[in-house]
């Protein structure tokens, strides 16, 4: 109900504007001319309706372009993909079963016994990190980034998603969220008086935005100890 307050203030402003317009309009009543006041109103109003109808025609003849270069996807399929990827990652089978979602690979040489692993500037890492211990100590760390498809309103926008940035520095392995890519859309929806009957969500809108599942899969030497400096929440493969 606290929403009501700004609404009411807007209502009051609108009402005052309407009253002021009415007064201003009344003052122009005494203009001389061939047309009477009500005829003038009729003309102006017809002009307004004409403009509206032109817009309707415009919209029909040159409809608003929907970004349709993007593939259509089924959100349910995407959901399943995400869940499956996570499971296979934890089961260690991601290399085989998640190969279609492989986005980027890194290879690092590291011979130390311990490795700090941290997210730069303590930021919250948006990907899940899954660590697999190899069977031997080969001094190599392999990192692979997997991500399932993302979509908005049933359209694939995976191409806009970038992998995170990895850097092996003196004090450890630094992880960093990727640079953000911004996309803006406009969506034209129905008026509330229509939505209440077509069973669309009343206050919400029916855009569906689903993120994919992103996983950073690290394969580390058998005895390497990872020290989680920034609470990344590492998951180890059994």
């Amino acid at each position: 109900m606290m929403l009501m307050v700004p609404l009411l203030i807007t209502a009051i402003i609108v009402i005052s504007l309407a009253i002021l317009t009415a007064r201003a309009v009344n003052k122009t009543v005494f203009r001389k001319g061939k047309f009477s006041y009500s005829q003038r109103v009729c003309l102006i109003f017809s002009g307004y309706v004409a403009v509206l109808l032109i817009c309707v025609v415009l919209d029909t003849v040159y409809p608003v372009k929907i970004v349709n270069e993007w593939k259509k996807v089924d959100t349910k399929v995407l959901e399943k993909e995400s869940i499956d990827l996570y499971d296979t990652a934890l089961a260690g089978k991601i290399a085989k079963e998640g190969s279609e979602f492989l986005r980027k690979k890194w290879n690092f040489d590291y011979n130390g016994k311990q490795l700090n692993i941290a997210a730069i500037q303590d930021e919250y890492l948006n990907t899940s990190v899954v660590v697999e211990r190899k069977n031997h100590n080969d001094g190599k760390i392999e990192a692979a980034y997997y991500q399932t498809r993302s979509s908005v309103n049933g359209m694939d926008i995976t191409e806009f998603a970038h992998p995170p940035r990895l850097e092996l520095a003196e004090n450890g392995l630094l992880l960093r969220n990727p640079k953000k890519s911004k996309i803006k859309f406009s969506e034209f929806t129905n008026v509330f008086s229509v939505k209440q009957f077509t069973e669309e969500d009343f206050f919400g809108h029916d855009s569906h935005f689903s993120e994919g599942q992103s996983i950073l899969y690290l394969r580390i030497p058998k005895d390497l100890e990872l020290i989680d400096k920034t609470n990344i929440n590492l998951n180890y493969v059994e």
Binding site: V67, L125, I157, S181
Partner: protein
């Protein structure tokens, strides 16, 4: 000179035509308010944002004629109150009228105004579309043209007309009450805002919220029509009865 006999329907018809001309300034305020609403809607009536893996920042702006419809409902309310004020109400008494015919012709006028308001409100969503598409951003993910969904447009027009008419009925009753006693100018807003505040404080869903739900969440079209017609009918009847004994002063 022989007396003329008149029938109520006849007088109401003549008054209605008279009022279409005499009250024409309300249609100027309609245009103004609707254009204002389109202006307000240009920044989107809602938005959604999100990120994928932190790397995609998505912003979706929603555009619809929601604001225009709401402003039109407000306009209906104001117009109805306006025509109950002395300056307008007494316009009838120079010619042939009685209180019943005056009220009836007012109601028919308000119905006409609702129809005009509802149609223009729905059509303005196309105006908004054109403005946004050609001048603001041509990246769109969803848009429905008239040809694709003509029934939705008609549905929108019909239901918006009903909403505006309901607000007209409410405004007419409020205006009539104020004409009966100036005290209502203070009493009614006080009662309305008081209820709102009390309900807001107590946290429970109160009368205002219930009334809101009663109409705005009704998903059956038939029920909706019945609700509106009955409510508007009651409000108008109340106003008719109350104004029957009003004298023409000043």
């Amino acid at each position: 000179m022989s007396l003329t006999k008149v029938s109520l329907i006849d007088v109401v018809k003549k008054q209605y035509i008279y009022k279409l001309k005499a009250y024409s300034q309300v249609f100027m305020s309609l245009i103004f308010l609707q254009l204002l609403a389109v202006l307000f809607s240009m920044n989107g009536v809602g938005s959604m944002g999100g990120s994928t893996g932190g790397s995609v920042e998505l912003q979706v702006k929603y555009f619809s004629a929601d604001f225009v419809a709401a402003f039109t409902m407000l306009w209906g309310f104001i117009t109805a109150i306006l025509i109950t004020t002395k300056a307008y109400r007494n316009d009838d008494f120079v010619f042939v009228t009685n209180r019943v015919s005056s009220n009836l012709s007012n109601a028919v006028f308000l119905l006409t105004a609702s129809v005009i308001g509802g149609i223009t409100a729905m059509l303005s969503s196309y105006l908004l579309k054109v403005i946004v598409y050609y001048f603001i951003s041509d990246l769109s993910i969803k848009s429905i043209t008239v040809l694709e969904a003509p029934m939705e447009l008609l549905l929108g027009i019909f239901s918006t007309i009903l909403y505006v008419f309901l607000f007209c009925a409410l405004g007419y009753l409020v205006g009539t009450l104020v004409q009966i006693s100036k005290a209502f100018t203070v009493l009614l807003p006080a009662a309305f805002f008081g209820t709102l505040i009390l309900e807001g404080l107590s946290g429970k869903a109160g009368t205002v919220a219930n009334v809101f739900d009663f109409f705005f969440t009704e998903s059956s079209l038939v029920l909706f029509i019945v609700k509106i017609i009955v409510s508007a009918g009651l409000l108008f009847s109340g106003a008719f009865v109350l104004s029957n004994r009003l004298e023409v002063r000043g």
